[in-house]
């Protein structure tokens, strides 16, 4: 006999399989429809052989003319811009919040060859900003999902999936393939778009672009702010010219910790697509040697000289030129492909290339408790106080019953609240002078709770213990109904 749990698992797995099949079928249908469209146009033109065989002198087929007609109608862009775009190749590193809109527009606008690098899988908490992915692809590789959407938007361009993390060992090969067999180097991508989410990747991609001489469109977003610039193009600085020394790891906030309003990376990603298109077509003035800072929160409008009024909520600032002393692109630098391959970006920035939550281990075992053990104590009626040290807005998302919220940042000023809570609990449980209520501390993942326990021990709360793994562990080991975020 199959248990209810087993049956549910079987149903869920079948739903997953069917969803996967459905998205594959959807992709196939869109590809076939596009193919059919091509055939119809060719057939129609077949009745008028003088035009279809002669061409129009610019390499654009009738289907291309129709698809990209609104580009062709732009006097500053026109046939030349579109032809350049169709001949260009662009690599987008990261199919997340920035990469999603960038890829959508780059696929739609007719970039000849579009590469996507991502090692990650689609998760439900990505969907609010990573708009290229659909629910059917949850659990599947982002590169595959993004490529599927791009193909369904434009089946006439070449889309290449790189389902791997960019590393020093594969970056040179992915960015430019060396063709040993035939003639010289076969350049894979003309323009690189950095849509990653961590400091070591940003240094690595910039250095790789310098070594290979490729322009880099770099965007970043966090919270309600975004930044954008073009590196290593038209004499513009590289990332290292601007930031020769990596920031301390504590200064590198992640969207998974600090949050991000979905539309903000969306805007920066769109601007990245725009800059890549401008470089590919040689149309307009690229944002090289300048940086765009976007503050979505501020309703204040700041107008900087020479800035267009329609862009008045953006600040466009002037940044330094290429640094002659730069260790990578400077006058006397000889940063080679081999040096690039050997460079340890994780050590340099003291943070991992693949972003994963930090797991601290600050306390001795006696000062820690597993969530399951605590649950047993609570069930037995042990006198205790549970302090939740997450920020108040986290506490509002979900909290354990009877938890007292004192954010870590204000803990040292609110110790009296803990003392009185302990006394009250002792009174409630009728505990005498010989024993006292226990003090437990919880946070989201079990890092801040350890910092809090360190502080509490220092000021005399010697019974304080931290709940290993925080609320996330509680959700796994004790109560699966606790939502994770």
């Amino acid at each position: 006999m199959e248990s209810e749990g087993g049956q549910a698992a079987r149903i869920l797995s079948e739903i997953d399989t069917l969803k996967g099949k459905r998205s594959d079928i959807d992709n196939r249908i869109s590809a076939l429809e596009a193919q059919l469209g091509d055939l119809n146009i060719e057939k129609n033109n077949g009745s008028c052989p003088s035009i279809s065989t002669g061409g129009f002198g610019h390499g654009l087929s009738p289907d291309m003319i129709y698809r990209y007609s609104r580009h062709l109608l732009l006097p500053t862009f026109g046939v030349e811009g579109q032809s350049n775009l169709l001949k260009s190749s662009i690599l987008v590193v990261g199919a997340g919040g920035l990469g999603s809109p960038a890829l959508l527009y780059l696929a739609a606008c007719g970039v000849g060859k579009l590469g996507i690098v991502d090692h990650d899988v689609v998760e439900l908490n990505n969907m609010h900003r990573q708009v290229i992915h659909t629910e059917a692809y949850i659990g599947q590789p982002k590169a595959k999902s993004a490529a599927g959407t791009c193909r369904s938007i434009n089946s006439t361009i070449q889309i290449v999936e790189h389902q791997e993390a960019l590393r020093t060992s594969n970056a040179l090969d992915i960015l430019s393939q060396i063709a040993v067999s035939i003639t010289a180097n076969f350049v894979r991508y003309d323009i690189i778009v950095d849509a990653t989410d961590n400091a070591p990747s940003r240094y690595m991609i910039s250095d790789c672009c310098v070594v290979l001489g490729k322009p880099l469109v770099s965007g970043a977003a966090l919270g309600l702010e975004g930044q954008l610039t073009v590196y290593n193009h038209n004499g513009a600085p590289c990332y290292r010219c601007l930031f020769p020394t990596p920031p301390p790891t504590t200064a590198c906030q992640r969207c998974a910790d600090s949050g991000v309003l979905g539309v903000v990376p969306g805007i920066i990603g769109c601007l990245q697509a725009l800059e890549a298109i401008k470089i590919a077509t040689a149309v307009g003035e690229p944002l090289s040697g300048r940086m765009l800072l976007f503050d979505a929160f501020s309703a204040r409008i700041r107008i900087v000289q020479s800035i267009l009024h329609i862009f008045k909520s953006f600040f466009k600032v002037k940044i330094r030129g290429r640094s002659l002393q730069c260790e990578v692109c400077g006058e006397h630098s000889a940063f080679t492909q081999q040096q690039f391959k050997d460079f340890d970006y994780e050590k340099f920035t003291q943070s991992p290339l693949l972003v994963a939550p930090v797991k601290l281990n600050l306390l001795i075992e006696d000062y820690r408790i597993h969530s399951r053990e605590l649950k047993e104590k609570i069930v037995k009626g042990e006198a205790h106080v549970l302090v939740d040290v997450r920020p108040a807005h986290h506490f509002k998302i979900v909290s354990l019953p009877n938890a007292l919220n004192i954010p870590l940042s204000s803990l040292e000023f609110r110790l009296a609240e803990i003392s009185s809570a302990l006394k009250e609990e002792e009174k409630r449980k009728g505990i005498g002078f010989d024993s006292s209520a226990s003090l437990y501390v919880i946070c989201r993942r079990g890092n801040d709770s350890q910092r809090a326990v360190q502080l509490l021990h220092k000021v005399g709360f010697t019974s304080a213990r931290d709940i290993i793994g925080g609320l996330e562990a509680w959700a796994v080991d004790v109560d699966p109904n606790i939502p994770t975020y």
């Binding site: 990261g94 997340g96 919040g97 920035l98 990469g99 849509a195 990653t196 989410d197 961590n198 400091a199 940003r202 965007g219 970043a220 977003a221 966090l222 919270g223 702010e225 975004g226 930044q227 601007l242 930031f243 020769p244 020394t245 990596p246 920031p247 301390p248 504590t250 200064a251 590198c252 906030q253 992640r254 969207c255 600090s258 991000v260 990376p265 940086m291 800072l293 503050d295 501020s298 204040r300 900087v304 000289q305 600040f315 466009k316 600032v317 002037k318 940044i319 330094r320 940042s409």
Partner: protein
């Protein structure tokens, strides 16, 4: 001397989450000129409420902070030696890595 100081990219969290500060920085005497070096010390003393190491390293800003004086990278105006004038706007922005 009236100055407008702005903090962004998360640096505002170090000064009570306030992004824009209109401040009056007094000079020791009329002859002295206020430089960015002086201003950094003034900011650390008067505006930074927590984790000063997230703003400064030694007598400079910490790595990863862009400084703009009147919308120009301070590297172009002399970095720490940049002299400030009344009503100047100084922006401190931490570079972002998220996406």
């Amino acid at each position: 001397m009236q100055l407008t100081l702005e903090f962004g990219g998360g640096l505002e969290l170090l000064c009570d989450s306030v992004k824009i500060h209109n401040v009056n920085v007094s000079l020791k005497n009329e002859v002295d000129k206020l430089t960015m070096k002086d201003l950094l010390v003034w900011v650390r003393t008067n505006l930074i409420k927590e984790r000063p190491e997230m703003f400064m390293k030694g007598d400079n800003v910490r790595p990863g902070v862009l400084v703009l004086v009147n919308d120009c990278d301070w590297e172009l105006s002399g970095q720490l030696d940049t002299t400030l004038e009344d009503k100047d706007v100084v922006v401190f922005i931490s570079t972002l890595h998220g996406g």
